[in-house]
Amino acid sequence: METPMMYYIVISLVMFFAGVYGFMTRKNMLMMLISIELMLNAVDINFAVFNRFLFPGQMEGMIFSIFAIAIAAAETAIAIAIIINIYRHIRNIDADNLDDMKY
């Protein structure tokens, strides 16, 4: 346990905001999805790290991470299904083109 907790947190922080940056700058929906995965992953790391360094006798954080991974899997599956469906309809998966249903 020589490596201090803050090191881990900085890693996850960079990862999270890399995700945020990606989400805001990329138009391709698959890229946006990849960014979301990055953010989720950063959060998972935080859960595990806090659990390990602050409450080592318990395992809530880890189990939360496990659930988060499961839910991320479900979310990705649905999102990709939607994206493929959209691609079939408009031959394009840019988020900017999806404004047919706006107000």
Binding site: F17, V20, G22, I71, A73, A74, I80
Partner: protein, 170 residues
């Protein structure tokens, strides 16, 4: 996982470098298949972090589900929706600068909060065995998670059906 402190340090920095570089590359590269590959590296490095924290089960799940399952889904969908070698169009400069500013502002804010917070740790405990994790997942006592576990199983089922429904050809 008993490693020499120095080796542990080296491995940590290696993983950290991989995570930081690959995640930044994943969101900046213009080839989408490459982005997926960088994401894979990031996820694998994250699994390495979990191993270093002695969360071997979590690490395995990370590799199996994320690196194994989700990444495959990504690759498939990328191959279905884009042509190989095709580059996504460049996003505008202002957008990138604004995104960068926002990200850095976020890092600064969160970093400040994290570094100034007085963390206090409880006593050091033992690492949990897989047996304990299994009990916790399907037990009904306090700090045990049968109900969320079942809820997630139903969610996954619904998600399988939903994904088929949405993506199938009509």
């Amino acid at each position: 996982m008993e490693l020499l402190p120095l080796a542990q340090q080296v491995i940590f920095y290696l993983l950290a470098a991989v995570i930081v570089i690959c995640s930044i590359l994943a969101v900046t590269t213009r080839r989408i298949l490459r982005a997926a590959t960088y994401l894979l590296f990031t996820l694998l490095a994250t699994a390495g972090i979990y191993f270093m924290l002695d969360y071997t089960f979590l690490g395995s799940v990370q590799i199996a589900v994320y690196a194994g399952g989700i990444l495959v889904l990504f690759v498939f969908s990328i191959l279905l929706t884009s042509h190989p070698g095709e580059e996504t169009e460049k996003s505008s400069k202002t957008k990138r600068i604004l995104g960068l500013i926002a990200a850095i502002a976020g890092i600064v804010t969160c970093g400040y909060a994290l570094f100034t917070y007085p963390w206090s740790s409880t006593a050091v405990g033992e690492a949990q065995s897989i047996q304990q994790i299994g009990h916790a997942l399907i037990g009904m006592e306090k700090f045990q998670y049968l109900l969320p576990f079942e809820a997630v199983s139903v969610l996954l089922l619904a998600c399988i059906i939903g994904a088929i429904m949405i993506a199938r050809k009509r």
